[in-house]
Symmetry: D3
Subunit: 159 residues, 6 copies
């Protein structure tokens, strides 16, 4: 289990994502956190901003085997080009499970080398989603306990 | 259990909502039905129209402890300002349950005084959603048994 | 069980749809595959293109009791006008099940003659959705095993 | 769609089962209601009693194409021997759906001729289960609205 | 919302149950925690022991409006006899939700005065079940964080 | 990701289990397949027989990093004693997901070093369960495609 990849929109990164990164970093040799985007979709933060927020959010955790990057395209294409065969996914709820299950089959059909492992969301953060976070931020609610400090600061500037 | 709040888009109110209002009104002293909206989203009815439709729809039920209002912002902010600590939610299906479960955690983290109670949708109305209702209305289908009469009339004028 | 109808957006038809058509055609006398659309929604293919793709995709299967058409409006209105009382639905996952369950109740309330039967998605194709297919196509991924050949060709022309 | 089979323990038959029988009888030419049992399991009623209760419960419905029988063994073996290729299943909840989905795959693997169709439980009876009925009966609760009259009478004699 | 009832086997009480009791006690005037049992089922603790464990487990919480008792029979019969019309249920997962939803319909059919409210399990304790607790205890695992101290002590004596 | 453990009753091993073993063996350095049992439960095969059936079933796969053993007790105790911190779980359906999610939290609370990864069941085998297999075997149904040949032979001798 040399290299693994944890992908998502991370618009923005939440404590739910941080939790998965920390745990995945322990069980694989190298972990790439990959910000995915599509030119046709609207995001609050640019891919570069999202990468920076992830880096700042995990800076103090001492995770030496984690890198962050961004990419537009099929996740599995990126994985194959960079010799990564393992995808890490966080699963919060039943709806996540079914989506991830279908995605893992699709990805495995595109490239049979690709395997997906799911980590069960930690109880303390399984209710957090980037969508909720943005909703609360727009209405000036507190993001304490939902997103790391760099995100709390940056999201206020944006909105 | 003095005051409680039942929030939603109510765009428009359905017999599913009416059922929850009737039942919630029995178990709390005061019930506020709060029409929520976001300036960035599109609705069929204005907040004022939705409040009026709710009031007309429950007018004949004799629910003396129910008030209706509207608000843009975080539901829990409104609740705290008006000294309401109880949120009432209707649960139709598994997807509702998971969404409401996450929302109740988020709200409880924003203000620890806030508690959420879920009522199980009545079998006779658990299949109704405002989205279905609008879809049917657009195609001139019958709304008998789905929404109260005032909504049946008003929705035809709109479309 | 004379006539039945299998409706959907089919934007585009996938091997998941083909599987349901084949199985439904075996258990009913006549099967109408009906492409549904709404003028207010955006699709990749026009209704006529989708009908053509379905016809080409099932051409070699020798299904003599299957017809394909398109319609804008309530599915059950079409069914009643054409003397069809049976709707066929494919169910892939829990979220499908809940949606279809609510839809079948709504349709049965609109016209009590309407009955809905669900077929369980075949394991080999239960992960496929038109949305996934378009996502992969946009990123030049392989659609082998996901959609019939006519769709593979046509979707490349479109994108 | 000539012949179909609706199987179960029916220990005892409930209004949920009756609803499925009525609806299935409309969409197939012949319906066999088959009481299944296993010598190693414990039941409240004998197979013969359960057959009788089903017959009495549907006697007044005028369903001329419905027969009732019982069998110990694999449902699909019985189906093949009697030239029945269609299984009818009622689906009340998500847990039912998943179980039925797996069963339909298993049965289809045993005999590829076998197809399973699911009917969505009617909202008015989707909460009823034979287990609940027996629990209530043991505690002298009212079975009105849960099981047909012949079952109400017989279950009191048993307990 | 004068009187409410929270029922269960409580074999034994866990921190999940304690959490629901604390929260329910805040939103109703009087809360009865009712240990239910059936003479035909096997339990680790007797009804009297379970009542005592509940009382000891909540003794330090200062919940003056909570009483504990036990009963064999239909929960709703007890409720009606004692003039209680509200049932409180904790919901941990999708399977709980579906079971509780069906139960609330059954109970409401037995007595239309009965209403059920569901509380969403707290993230920190939503994974705990009495069954897991007994399994761990049998294998000498630590029950720290799963059950209150009185249960930790008593369960060791039993096993 | 040095050592991982895949636990279960394996009574008996199915092609679903074999699929998980093959895939897990690829992503970890060493995989221990651990047959768990409880003296108070009834099984078809003894722990020793189950170990032998697993070994025979995977013999031809050339998995050099897989060992098989059995154990009565808490899975995590065994893991800690043998310096294994990773548990591998297969997830077939929503009900599996919820059970595994709760188990992973419990195990992580017992020993914080323990991490659980879930693999999504392969579509071709996600409907198979040991319980179904035994049910079919008892009724002399074909186990082709459900369990490896050594199990097909041995199960006939048993029943």
């Amino acid at each position: 289990m040399n290299k693994a990849m944890y992908t998502g929109s991370f618009d923005p990164i939440t404590f739910g994502h941080v939790n998965i990164i920390k745990r995945a970093a322990k069980i694989v040799d190298e972990l790439l956190v990959l910000v995915c985007f599509s030119a046709s979709k609207q995001y609050l933060f640019s891919p570069e901003e999202r990468v920076a927020l992830i880096q700042e959010s995990i800076a103090t955790l001492g995770l030496k085997n984690v890198k962050v990057s961004f990419y537009e395209g099929l996740v599995v294409d990126y994985a194959m080009k960079h010799n990564i065969s393992l995808l890490v996914r966080g699963m919060r709820a039943v709806s996540d499970f079914e989506h991830e299950s279908a995605m893992s089959r699709i990805n495995n059909e595109l490239y049979s080398e690709i395997e997906t492992i799911g980590l069960f969301s930690d109880p303390g953060v399984s209710h957090i989603s980037s969508r909720f976070v943005k909703e609360i931020a727009k209405n000036n609610g507190s993001l304490q306990g939902l997103v790391p400090e760099p995100v709390q600061i940056k999201i206020k500037e944006k909105l």
